[in-house]
């Protein structure tokens, strides 16, 4: 009977396959780490996810463990929803959790619950300092804001009129950047911050308020985009800003180092970028979780992930890193002459 023969062949194949799997599983122990961003709808987290997967692959190839990354999160930034996701992850059972917290307080309880259940937790990007997480990998947004102000002053000079574009007013990371920026500007009495406009993380609104501000303050000399919102829009959508930036009348410094911004910088429309190491959010977090679980490594309360400063001098290296999706090489200095 033809049919029966096929069934026998199928069973044999299954058996052999099962043996192979069984042997390799016996050799290598599996580790699963949950990597939880604030939201699934923000592109910068995708880069962190790629970093996490890259590190997992690297560890699986070079160590005696098979490392898997469980990428889960709430669709939008929502602390309550994120608590639910962490509870699900605890119920499922993992070997470690790396999380960027939507709220420093709201996540404390559920993080402690995970730690009590024997799952080590570390935070990255956004901390829950009151919790039992073993470390926090992040940057000081305040220092980032200061770095942005120093970049702007270097290009714009020590006097002029500056406008700020922020996202959602009150967002902690954005407010910290603004505070750092203003603390530096304070030391330069001839620099005036004329206005702060908000775009509520909306590209369309961002484009509008930038253009409106360009009209309201024709003598503007500097911009600090606290995030990159309007820069997602294509050339031609902000004619007034583009014209002023191209002629060099207005110098713009922006946060983040995404490819769209690198294009603008290469064309000279932006003078400097300050960015977090998004890739490292995943790449370094998985390494740290691995070291903590396998090598019993101790970590300080706070681990500084550092900041990327991009100018015309090192923009090419950053573009290359994005193209290769490999951020393991350190960035050349932003001002090589020093």
């Amino acid at each position: 009977m033809k049919g029966k023969q096929w069934i026998v062949v199928g069973l044999v194949v299954l058996l052999v396959w099962g043996c192979v799997i069984g042997v390799s599983a016996a050799e290598k122990k599996k580790l699963t780490f949950a990597w939880i961003p604030k939201a699934l709808n923000n592109p910068v987290f995708e880069l962190g996810r790629d970093g996490a997967f890259a590190k997992a692959k690297e560890l699986s190839e070079t160590t005696d463990y098979i490392v898997e990354v469980l990428y889960v999160g709430s669709v939008a930034s929502d602390a309550a929803e994120q608590v639910r996701v962490v509870e699900d992850v605890i119920a499922r059972g993992v070997d470690g959790i790396g999380i960027s917290c939507n709220d420093p307080d709201a996540l404390v309880d559920v993080i402690n619950k995970a730690v009590d259940a024997g799952i080590p937790v570390m935070t990255w990007d956004a901390d829950a300092p009151q919790s039992k997480r073993f470390t926090y990998l992040g940057v000081s947004n305040y220092d980032g804001g200061k770095a942005a102000a120093e970049l702007l002053i270097r290009y714009m000079g020590e006097k002029g009129k500056v406008a700020l574009l922020t996202g959602v007013p009150g967002a902690f990371n954005l407010e910290e950047r603004i505070r750092g920026f203003k603390d530096v500007i304070k030391n330069y009495p001839e620099i005036e911050i004329v206005t702060t406009v908000a775009c509520y993380d909306d590209i369309n609104l961002g484009v509008q308020v930038v253009e409106e501000t360009m009209q309201a303050y024709p003598d503007l000399t500097g911009w600090f985009f606290v995030g990159l919102w309007p820069l997602f829009a294509e050339r031609g959508s902000m004619p007034l800003w583009e014209e002023a930036a191209k002629s060099g009348r207005v110098k713009t410094v922006a946060f983040d180092t995404l490819p769209v911004e690198l294009e603008y910088l290469k064309e000279g429309l932006l003078v400097g970028l300050v960015g977090q190491k998004y890739w490292g959010w995943g790449y370094d977090t998985i390494q740290m979780l691995f070291d903590y679980v396998v090598n019993k490594k101790e970590f300080p309360y706070w681990t500084d992930s550092g900041m990327d400063i991009v100018t015309i001098h090192n923009v090419d290296a950053m573009i290359e890193a994005w193209e290769k999706k490999d951020f393991t090489k350190p960035l050349p200095p932003p001002f090589p002459e020093e």
Binding site: N41, T166, V194, D202, E212, Q215, A216, F232, R235
Partner: protein, 318 residues
Amino acid sequence: MRYVEPGLVLRFARNQLAALLVILGGMVLLLSLLTSTFLTANNIFNVLRAFSWIAIASFGQSIVIIGGGIDLSAGSNMAFAGIITAMLLLAGYSVVFSILVGLLITLGIGLLNGLMVSKTKLPPFIATLGTMSIVRGFCYGMTQGWPVRNLPRSFMFLGQTDIWRVPLPAIIMIGLAVFCAILLEKTKLGYHVYAVGGNEYAASLVGINTGRVKTIAFTLSGLFAGIGGLLMTARLGVAAPTAAQGYELDIIAAAVIGGISLTGGEGSVWGALIGAAIMQILRNALVLMGFPAYWQPAAIGAVIIGAVMIDMYRKRKV
């Protein structure tokens, strides 16, 4: 009793559109006195372009609201039309084909809303709340969270071209307003929309197919949100999955400020057009005057309430 011809002032006050135009004119006058930058051709055309997509989406919304419904999925539809068209463009399809498919899909979502409301008798608020979330989920899922960029110039032409300095989206907006006004005021369908929104039971008694009227209204709302979304995408040159989030509230507010009653059966698309203009001029003014960003939502909320209260007071008075 002798019939008294109403005086000019009274007749004027009774005319809703005229009252709205007075509010709008007052704002324009005030702003041109307060700032040197408001009444410049550049700024006026910027404002026109900026509110054109909200206004276009609010035309469709107006038809739904006049027919006694509400469409919460408008913002998501705006984003989705942009994403579908942008993805097709990047896949190498022609501009016309990509636009048609984008619009066809939001038209389909509108049709689905309409069928849910008319066939399964779901309350419009719930049906469109559901599609709002479903469509937004598709936006995120299909793009994996990344904005779709590098759209061809021939597509961005739609949003960035000026004809004798007037932005093309604004011209399209006026054209669509005329189309909707004719549809609502001069056709049997338009008459039926008012009848269904005014009193659905009575409308069904006189033989109007209320389900069909509602379905058409929601379908048009989907289509118009799609047109608005495409123009916005063409202007920005990017289709973001987060685009137009929360715009449904601006779209509904524009209609309500424009005198369209949320209980249905009343209002016109010209009102929605002026309502959208009032909202955008307000936003523009707050930036031009350097009003602190942190206080802006409060100012916008106060103006929405104020404008609707003036309208209600006027109605009661005359």
